[in-house]
């Protein structure tokens, strides 16, 4: 059974443009640092993330490598692959689709980071590292539904690896490290509690989503879903071209991205925005810069404009606004426009 065929197609999700944008920006440039999706139940959070599988492009991976190293970037490879390279061996490459790896809420620490291979030890008396979810996630999207309900120590672990791009294991008799560069996507229902502010800052982008209010739009949502449920395969087949189109767009955007230029005046605007919104630290600035570049590239341009900032700034700012005690901080588009002189 292939899961891919059973997920409602990404391209047919009605509305939720901000969420789609945030996801696409991250796929184009994983260094943006992931997305946190906040919203009530039934707002297509999980569907959107899971359906990313359909539009994610292929990528070259080393055959047999448990961490799916990319043969194009020797610096980001795991030690085994680099060792082979150093010995002059040629790494066999194979195109594999990027996928969405899900982390269940019940995951234990040893399964997340990897642990000692039990069977191997008992049989041979030798140590062997058994890769965990983070190994699987390398080069892919890691999706955590209900991220706010995950145990604190697991979240710390995830964010640590996401930030460093490396998973260090020093436990249970294993000392190991392997690349773990992934796009972290978390979703949560704010009714069930929130995340520590420090953790919020680690997510590159954040979107607050709501259910559609408009009657016609709601009708449209239901109709599409009913049509899909009647015959999922036929429905997916019917939007095959659209899926192909968006996948090609991602590939094209990635090619443009290194050529995107950013004028100093744009950088000044970014700084003005963070100063205006009283953001601490530089993570927001850097994320905004990367997201603006990715946004320009998605649009097929090689020059970042103020308009790009206007699109990405809300995604970068919403979860970083300084809350005084339990002050309600809402993001105000007008203030942003003032910063941008629009």
């Amino acid at each position: 059974m292939s899961n891919e065929t059973l997920i409602f197609p990404f391209v047919r999700i009605v509305g939720q443009e901000k969420m789609k944008k945030a996801l696409l920006l991250n796929i184009v440039d994983p260094s943006i640092g992931g997305v946190l999706i906040k919203g009530e139940k039934g707002t297509a959070k999980s569907t959107s993330v899971r359906s990313l599988t359909q539009i994610l492009p292929m990528r070259p991976t080393v055959v047999g490598c448990p961490f799916h190293c990319d043969p194009r970037y020797p610096k980001r490879m795991c030690a085994q692959c680099r060792e082979k390279l150093a010995k002059g061996e040629k790494l066999e490459s194979q195109d594999m689709p990027m996928t969405v790896v899900e982390l269940p809420l019940s995951a234990t620490e040893d399964r997340v980071s990897g642990t000692l291979d039990l069977e191997h030890v008992l049989k041979t008396g030798e140590k062997k590292f058994e890769p965990g979810v983070l190994a699987q996630a390398n080069g892919n999207v890691l999706y955590v539904d209900e991220v706010n309900l995950l145990d604190d120590h697991i979240i710390d672990l995830l964010l640590d690896s996401a930030a460093m791009g490396v998973n260090y294991i020093e436990r249970e008799g294993v000392s190991f490290s392997h690349p773990a560069k992934f796009i972290l996507v978390g979703s949560m229902n704010p009714e069930e509690g929130s995340l520590r502010p420090q953790l919020l800052d680690r997510f590159g982008l954040c979107v607050d989503i709501e259910g559609e209010k408009d009657v016609d739009v709601r009708m449209e949502v239901i109709q599409r879903r009913m049509e899909f449920d009647r015959d999922p395969e036929a429905y997916l087949e019917s939007c095959k071209d659209e899926i192909e189109e968006i996948r090609n767009k991602i590939i094209a955007t990635r090619e443009i991205l290194p050529n995107v230029r950013m004028d100093q005046s744009i950088i000044r605007y970014i700084v003005m925005i963070s100063i205006h919104f009283k953001l601490e630290g530089h993570r927001a600035d850097i994320t905004m810069m990367r997201a603006a570049k990715a946004n320009a590239a998605l649009d097929g341009r090689t020059e970042v404009t103020k308009e790009d900032l206007r699109t990405v700034a809300p995604l970068v700012l919403t979860h970083r606004l300084k809350k005084r005690a339990f002050d309600e901080a809402t993001f105000d588009e007008k203030e942003l426009n003032v910063c941008l002189g629009m």
């Binding site: 008396g125 120590h153 020093e170 436990r171 294993v174 950088i267 700084v271």
Partner: protein
């Protein structure tokens, strides 16, 4: 199996600003006697960045301590491969062994277990690791520098841990636009072509490395002079530093700072800088107070001594002042660049400082740990302040922190520990038994995991919203107290509930939940009544909490009753005979909820009046605070409150 992933790090010299941090790290690399540096700062300010860049200027590698490290990996444990194959007991090196001659980096040190942090610090400072576990009894030397970072938003480190850090720096990130723009520009450049960027700064990094090497040469041949030690001792004494670690660190750092400047004798400025690096975090400063002043004290003391002793003065300024005048406005004040600050500016700043303090009191109270005192009985010695929510977990959730022997039939098995326990006996067992397994495990080998979870607690605020509170304008203060408590507990992921009572209604506005933010809105918008039906409120609380504790066994519950104790509505409102206060006290005495702890906050302001709230606290076997108790401004006061709490217990 120790393969590392090579990474491209940001060059040391390309890091904009952070001068103090860089200086501190350079000192630590240059002087072998400086062992530990703590970097404090908000998230996203480059703490980790600067630590990782150290490789460029030290030629050492940075050994990262992952957050989920276990004891045996950190310090070393039995190597079971050898034990199984050869029946020999030898040590498998721990992470600390790899840190020997290198730099040990602990990110977010406040998230590590207290025991582990103490162990690492001990090993680093003593230069020795002792292992006594699993048939292994060994020790090895470790010469390393510990660099740790801590996010000052949600962290607490105990004073004893702080004291073990030679230096502590606050990351100073630029507030001005130009600085931030420059940082972004560099970051953009690094993103675009990391290799070229690193090459661009290589020369500068090498220059720094050279400087460190030269300084290192100088410091190995110089010892702190008696004069220097005396000056430092005076500074430490003035700043009321306990213990002598601060003195020593300051002396070494002052020497090293001078050496980095190519001199073998520290001058006044070196001592001042060293003091600000080494002493601030050792002071008992109340939370939230600015630390700028310390530099001033250090300078004044040094200045005083400079007069009479032969220490070299800096050319650009001479400080003359009396010892006693250190804190008075008449003391000449010099800012970091060495310019004299004009009197007016000085006055203005003082004025502003005073204003700050006043508004702060009005807004939110400094959080004191109300619950800490109540609690020390149950949570044992290990539960240091900030870690009080950690406990050993009985079910199989939480972080595995160690292993123990077990006789459970279905243990939460610690596989690695089990194999290690069985390893030395494999040779004999194989001789006696026939098995295709490489490892034969017997019952006595089985080890079980020790897990630790963060314990959650429930806090239910019950607030008297009768007129007496409002008239005296105490509500603002009550709100402040509640908010600051909430701010603390929101981070810790506890459940918080909120109810109010007045003669109109007893309102459970927010049943205990994690959605703490709602309370802020509730507080702004409280329905106010005139009279106080305390009896009814207590009956309600008793019923509610007895149900609640059934649903959540094992959870610590606190009811925080905010009232002036002036009950004036009896259970039966039509009854005019009964004394409402006596009735309520009677009810309070009858309440018997073993897992619920009561805290009574007296909202009465006048001191001459009878303190009924206090009687309630006694009747409920709870702790008693006045609103003023909660307004903690000095460390001494915190201690007072603590002692008071202990007494009540």
């Amino acid at each position: 199996m120790s393969w590392d992933v090579s990474q491209t790090y940001y060059p040391f010299s390309a890091i904009y600003g952070m001068e103090e941090t860089k200086k501190a790290l350079m000192c630590a690399i240059a002087n072998r006697r400086i062992k530990s540096v703590l970097i404090k700062g908000p998230s996203g300010t480059g703490k980790t960045l600067v630590a990782r860049s150290l490789g460029y200027i030290s030629g050492k590698s940075i050994v990262n301590v992952p957050l989920n490290v276990t004891d045996e990996q950190l310090f070393g444990c039995l190597d079971f491969e050898t034990a199984i194959k050869e029946g020999k007991v030898i040590l498998q090196d721990g992470l600390l062994k790899r840190a020997d001659g290198n730099i040990l980096y602990m990110d977010d040190i406040n998230l590590f277990e207290h025991r582990m942090v103490t162990g690492v610090i001990d090993a680093v400072l003593s230069g020795k690791v002792l292992i006594e576990r699993e048939n292994v009894s060994e020790s090895y030397d470790v010469d390393t520098i510990l660099v740790a970072s801590v996010n000052n938003n949600d962290s607490y480190l105990s004073p004893s841990i702080l004291d073990h850090f030679d230096m502590c720096v606050n990351v100073d990130y630029p507030e001005d636009a130009d600085g931030r723009i420059e940082i972004l520009m560099r970051s953009l450049e690094f993103d675009t072509d990391p290799d070229a960027f690193i090459a661009k700064y290589r020369e500068q990094d090498e220059e720094v490395a050279r400087k460190i090497a030269e300084a290192s040469e100088i410091v190995t041949n110089s010892e702190p002079t008696k004069d220097l030690l005396e000056t430092i001792a005076t500074v430490c004494k003035k700043m009321a530093i306990d213990g002598h670690r601060g003195d020593l660190s300051t002396a070494y750092v002052a020497l090293t700072l001078a050496a980095l400047d190519g001199r073998s004798e520290p001058v006044e400025a070196d001592v001042v800088e060293a003091a600000s690096l080494c002493i601030n975090h050792r002071r008992k400063i109340p939370k939230g107070r600015r630390v700028d002043r310390q530099k001033k004290i250090a300078r004044s003391v040094v200045g005083f001594n400079t007069e009479s002793r032969a220490m070299t003065k800096l050319p650009h300024d001479t400080v003359k002042m009396d010892e006693a005048s250190a804190d008075t406005p008449s003391a000449a004040d010099i800012d970091t660049s060495g310019n004299h600050v004009s009197k007016d500016e000085e006055q203005e700043r003082k004025h502003k400082e005073a204003e700050d303090v006043i508004t702060k009191i009005g807004e939110t109270f400094k959080t004191i740990d109300l619950f800490e005192g109540v609690d020390t009985r149950n949570r044992g010695k290990g539960a240091a302040n900030g870690k009080r929510f950690q406990q050993m977990s009985a079910d199989r959730t939480g972080r595995a922190v160690g292993s123990k022997m077990t006789d459970s039939k279905n243990p939460d098995m610690a596989f690695d520990a089990t194999v290690r326990a069985s390893a030395p006996f494999q040779k004999i067992r194989h001789e006696n038994t026939d098995s295709d397994m490489a490892v034969i495990i017997e019952k006595q080998d089985i080890r079980e995991k020790i897990r630790e979870t963060k314990k959650s607690s429930t806090f239910l605020f019950a607030v008297d919203t009768s007129g007496s509170l409002i008239i005296r304008n105490r509500m603002v203060a009550v709100k402040g107290a509640i908010l600051s408590l909430l701010k603390e507990h929101y981070i810790k992921r506890d459940r918080v509930g909120f109810m109010t009572f007045n003669e109109k209604a007893i309102n459970m506005l927010l049943p205990p939940s994690r959605e703490v933010e709602v309370i802020y809105k509730l507080l702004d918008d409280l329905a106010i009544g005139r009279r106080t039906p305390l009896s009814a409120a207590l009956v309600y609380l008793n019923e509610y909490m007895s149900m609640y504790v059934k649903k959540r066994p094992g959870e610590d519950c606190y009811v925080i009753l905010v009232t002036d104790g002036e009950a004036n509505v009896p259970l039966d409102p039509t009854d005019t005979e009964t004394d409402a206060i006596q009735e309520a006290l009677e009810i309070a005495r009858k309440i018997n909820l073993p897992t619920v702890k009561w805290i009574v906050i007296d909202s009465e302001k006048r001191y001459d009046k009878e303190r009924h709230a206090k009687e309630f606290a006694e009747a409920l076997h709870g702790t008693y605070y006045t609103l003023d108790d909660l307004r903690v401004e000095t460390y001494e006061e915190i201690n007072l409150v603590h002692t008071a709490t202990v007494k009540i217990l």
